[in-house]
């Protein structure tokens, strides 16, 4: 069951303010049903501590998901505090030590938590300067600060360690600390190597999968081939002969097993016989687009400018098209893992979650413990790209630990992760448009049908995690993400954009990188290409003439230059080479980074196979904190989304979900990787930093589809762009 709540993500972004640092943080508390903002947000000690050795410990509710924010946030603090970069240690996502700065989602970390940490560090520097002024007997404004040392002009000095080392600041924010001007930056803007990379390369990094706690035993869960089936028989007779004290934990539809060692629990899980009852019948896969279009939905007009229907009816040329993106997976390389130590009076959870505080609240509900008696210690897991199995496995481990009275480590198996991670939802987009006599877009009418993209832990609702749902606990979800980039960036005089937010989802789903943005952008940026072709116009020139936003135009002009773009309409005249290029432009979530991407494909006309050979991308995310980290995110977004565009689809039948491993859910391999990705970073030191964790994913599907059209004249409107689909389209 899904209940619609009124605030949208954009509403609470507005409520939080974009430019002004709001310390009534985090901004999404009320919408996500969290407790009131923590009053400690105004206290310096809640954010950072300076040791006697001058080393600085920073406490943040944001976590490292493999995107490099541990390094980038440390750069921001080091810059503002006036200490060397290597003086900083980040403590992330521990509910007992860190403030809730909201989940690490939505490319919001540098954008939202960056300014919060910058302000906290500026306040600390301001305080340290005052303390130094008293100590050195000199006016504060005449002191200089460098590398954690405060000096007078005549050479008297005192270190941060000497001023507060090991003690608390015991100060509230003054409100008068001003962050440095971008022109003064010496650490922000530098490609500082990531702090986590050496340990990852030497095999010593402490992933959650590597953590052990004293007296820990091991768990596994058993789940049906289709979500929602109940166990009708649990036969543990074979377990009695096995070593390791194997023990079954069955509660409602939840079935797990615990044993002393990991090898023993895997053998026990294999030996345990569970028969599952009737499962919900799934849709016929080929019917999914029609089913989504016909499902119960809350319909909302997101844009209504002019009269789209009338303008289209009166245009010289009209077009319509439907686009489809199937269910896709996060497909993390490491199956999710967590450890739980549940005691009578409280619990400790070690979890790779994106949302320490929300997940703690939901797990506490499942355990029937007060949330403040549960501590969640975040530990990095495999890259997640949204809500993979990290939260569910935390609930599973907690239920097992509570049942056996010992700490339990549980790593999901490959089948568990592939079959039970909350998938990225399938979406259908239908667009109608018209061109007037002078080749301009006269009208644009866009509709999207999508399940919810936010099946996250929320409001202490136990049923939002598998272990709670299987015990019959209630569910409630915030509705978010289906509308992301449904609205285009073009200044069409007559347009309508309509969201059909589906009440249910045929397959359990939640947030996958970009939420609805890659899918909506696939439709928007494919259809504008279709209109450009109908108008006989160059795809970049056609976009630019319908844009008013300077930063949008700038990335398109930049990528045209970068890619040596040949100005002409698509498709190309001579199609014998099988080579074509396509462009797509997105301003992520209509407020964040601007990205323009040109993809060059080579299509093998005989087989229908497509390879993306080259990409050129221009990316404007405001002030860049770490240019190499930004490049790494851009490359990753592009390569991962090429994989989604060419290969990925959750396979199912009416009776089974068939994507269970890498053979049945193939992703891109090295032979599929482009020869080259050329990146142009547009740095804007005078503009706020925007996130880079998702934006470059959004234009990829459309740029590839447009390139295939350029190469072949065939238009693919369903992801993935398989050889069979392209052959059929070319026939």
């Amino acid at each position: 069951m899904i209940t619609t709540l009124t605030p949208t993500r954009r509403d609470f972004l507005k409520a939080g303010g974009a430019l002004i640092v709001s310390f009534s943080l985090p901004f999404a508390h009320d919408a996500f049903g969290q407790p009131k903002p923590d009053p400690r947000t105004q206290e310096l000690d809640a954010w950072l501590a300076v040791g006697a050795d001058g080393k600085v410990t920073v406490f943040t509710g944001k976590v490292e998901l493999g995107t490099g924010v541990e390094t980038a946030l440390a750069q921001i603090v080091a810059e503002e505090l006036g200490v060397p970069f290597n003086a900083i240690t980040m403590v992330m996502g521990d509910t007992a030590r860190c403030l809730d700065q909201f989940a690490t989602v939505g490319s919001l970390t540098i954008y939202r938590a960056g300014p919060q940490l910058r302000q906290a560090a500026a306040e600390a520097r301001h305080t340290l300067r005052e303390l130094a002024a008293a100590r050195l007997g000199a006016p504060a404004e005449q002191l200089s600060i460098r590398d954690g040392v405060v000096s007078t002009a005549d050479g008297k000095r005192v270190t941060y360690g000497e001023l507060v080392g090991g003690k608390k600041f015991e100060r509230r924010f003054s409100g008068s600390a001003k962050p440095k001007a971008p022109g003064e930056h010496a650490i922000v803007g530098k490609p500082i190597p990531r702090v986590d990379i050496p340990a990852k390369v030497f095999g010593s990094h402490a992933y959650i999968q590597n953590v052990t706690v004293p007296n820990m035993v091991h768990g596994r869960v058993l789940r049906p081939p289709v979500h929602g089936a109940s166990p009708v028989l649990v036969d543990d007779s074979a377990l009695k002969r096995l070593p390791g004290n194997p023990r079954v934990v069955a509660k409602g539809n939840f079935v797990g097993v615990v044993a002393d060692t990991e090898e023993q629990v895997m053998r026990a899980a294999q030996a345990l016989k569970v028969e599952w009852g009737a499962a919900p019948v799934l849709p016929e896969p080929g019917e999914l687009p029609n089913l989504l279009r016909g499902a119960r939905a809350a319909t909302k007009e997101l844009v209504g400018t002019g009269d789209a229907a009338k303008a289209i009816a009166g245009s010289a040329k009209t077009l319509q098209a439907q686009y489809f993106v199937p269910y896709q997976l996060h497909a993390s390389i490491g199956p999710s893992c967590a450890i739980a130590d549940v005691r009578a009076d409280g619990a400790t959870l070690w979890s790779p979650t994106q949302s320490s505080f929300l997940t703690r609240g939901v797990v506490a509900s499942i355990l029937k413990l007060p949330a403040d008696k549960v501590r969640l210690i975040w530990i990095e897991g495999s890259g997640c790209y949204g809500q993979n199995g990290a939260d569910d496995v935390t609930g599973d481990a907690a239920v097992l630990s509570q049942a056996v009275g010992k700490p339990v480590r549980l790593q999901w198996m490959r089948r568990d992760e592939t079959l039970y991670e909350p998938r990225g939802p399938a979406m259908v987009m239908a667009v109608r448009g018209g061109i007037d006599g002078s080749g301009n877009v006269a009208g644009w009418d866009y509709q999207v049908w999508s399940p919810n993209h936010a099946g996250r832990p929320f409001a202490g609702m136990g049923g939002n995690l598998l272990a709670g749902e299987e015990q019959g606990m209630g569910q409630r979800f915030i509705q978010a993400g289906a509308d992301r980039n449904a609205k285009n960036s073009y200044a069409f005089a007559n347009q309508r954009v309509v969201l059909h937010q589906l009440e249910g989802t045929p397959l359990r789903s939640s947030s996958l990188r970009g939420l609805g943005s890659p899918q909506n952008s696939f439709a928007n940026e494919s259809f504008i290409d279709e209109l450009a072709a109908a108008a006989g116009a160059d795809p970049i020139a056609f976009r630019i003439k319908h844009l008013k936003d300077d930063r949008a135009i700038a990335v398109l002009q930049d990528v045209a230059k970068l890619s040596n773009w040949e100005t002409r309409p698509s498709p190309r005249g001579d199609r014998s080479s099988g080579v074509g290029r396509g462009v797509a432009f997105v301003q992520y979530d209509n407020y964040s980074a601007w990205v323009a991407l040109v993809a060059q494909v080579r299509v093998d006309r005989a087989s229908g196979k497509t390879r993306v050979e080259r990409c050129w991308v221009s990316h404007d995310c405001g002030l860049i904190v770490n240019p190499d980290g930004t490049r790494n995110q851009i490359e990753g977004n592009i390569v991962q989304t090429i994989s989604r565009a060419l290969f990925e689809e959750v396979k199912f039948t009416r009776r089974s979900v068939d994507s269970v491993d890498w053979a049945s859910y193939p992703i891109l391999r090295f032979s599929d990787v482009p020869d080259e990705i050329v990146i142009s970073l547009i740095n804007r030191p005078d503009k706020e930093s925007l996130g880079a964790g998702e934006p470059a994913a959004s234009p990829v599907m459309a740029a590839v589809a447009n390139a295939i059209f350029d190469a072949t004249g065939a238009r693919l409107r369903s992801v993935p762009f398989t050889a069979a689909r392209l052959k059929a389209a070319m026939a």
Partner: protein, 152 residues
Amino acid sequence: MTLNITVNGKRHAVQAPPDTALLYVLRNELNLKGTKYGCGLAQCGACTVHIGGRPTRSCVTPVSAVNAPVTTIEGLGTPDKPHPVQQAFIDEQALQCGYCTNGMVMTTAAFVAGNPKPTEAQIRAALEGNLCRCGTHMRILRAVRKAAGVRA
């Protein structure tokens, strides 16, 4: 039963059922956690170690079938004395989450040892069985070229 295996130059007497996957012996008995569980099906490469210098999937190798010395990523190099492939991965910042990195580094180390001056096609073929989900392939390829002493 007791099985004798040599890992990173040290002999170990391991108590384990003979069909136990080498991966679990390394991780849970010998506390060598650089080797990762990814699929248990030899599909992703995260568990790659060297057995007798050959890159091998430890998740499907029974410990009783280990008939040559094993090298794990912990035995390949250290921060003080990094293997050239590890140094190249650091230089190129060739990862994001790093969960696949063990397999990428171990596969590459065996590959460059046996293939001086490889072609681009040979490099890609060598890594074809290793999956990365963060999409750091461009950087991994740069690191491999660097370690192999070839230019793109």
